[in-house]
Amino acid sequence: MQNDHHTNFVHFCHYLEEDIDTPLCQELLQHMEECPECKHNITTIRKTVALYRQSQSSAHLSPEIKRKLIAQLKHQAPDNLET
């Protein structure tokens, strides 16, 4: 593999989406172990994604909104609803 960091960098980012078992991905993994710059790139991207996932809190629709929504839909078609 040529020591072209920009090309490798683009491949690495595609790699995050690709099947790890392909020959290209295996070659990239090998290069990553040997190249500090490429390893740094992939590591910081992974950390960024992990940080965002960690920062998310679960959001729940309030029961009141659910009730309001069902009532609104009832109002739209009162003749069609089972009791």
């Binding site: 960091h5 490429c38 960024t48 069902i70």
Partner: protein, 202 residues
């Protein structure tokens, strides 16, 4: 056919007959996820609730035309995403104009220097959470939406592309750029933090 697919088809069938309980079941099944998605895109609970109402109203109105061989989840998510993006367009809160995208893309496609700051250990305090949120709001919505759907909502590339009506290749490119942009924004933030600590220590 898998059990989940059978149950979903049954649910759609019941909704088409205007079964009230079926609609309540649909809201129970997807309400929280749609709300969560809208909240991530809009960052405002009131707007997110509006999107939930608009989404389920649209589902109620259009369900008769829904092809039961299609994926219900993808269909509802697409409706919700479109309503959320419409709200952004209406509020004109987009921070980067389309004509600036070309410059932005050329900037973010470069690898970060191995000397760029990215701490090994991080405390997810309120300040960092705020910075994460601000960084997410700074990227163009076409990249932000893909990042939210793929990395935060954990949808597949295929599902994301279907929801946004783009090719899978396009979805991968946008996700890559979103990740790179956010990584670079965080590196700049960590550098500023390092400078601040250095100045405080002097």
């Amino acid at each position: 056919m898998g059990m989940i697919e059978t149950e979903t088809q049954n649910l759609v069938g019941r909704i088409k007959t205007r079964d009230e309980q079926a609609f309540a079941d649909l809201i129970d099944l997807y309400g929280d996820r749609i709300y969560s998605l809208a909240l991530k895109i809009l960052r405002n609970s009131s707007d997110a609730e509006d999107v939930v109402q608009e989404t389920f109203t649209a589902v109620y109105e259009k369900v008769q035309t829904f092809n039961e061989q299609s994926d219900l989840f993808t269909w509802i998510y697409r409706i919700a995403t479109n309503f959320a993006l419409m709200k952004i367009r209406q509020s004109k809160h987009e921070t980067i104009a389309d004509h600036d995208l070309e410059y932005l893309d050329s900037r973010i496609e470069m690898p970060a220097s191995v000397h760029s700051v990215y701490p090994d250990q991080l405390v997810l305090d309120n300040e960092l959470k705020r910075e994460l949120d601000l960084a997410l709001q700074r990227i163009p919505k076409i990249y932000r939406t893909v990042f939210i759907l793929r990395d935060l909502e954990n949808l597949s590339t295929e599902e994301t592309a279907a929801i946004l009506n783009i090719t899978e290749s396009n979805a991968k490119v946008r996700l890559r750029r979103a990740r790179l942009f956010l990584r670079d924004e965080l590196c700049r933030y960590f550098e500023r933090c390092g400078d601040k600590e250095h100045k405080n220590a002097e």
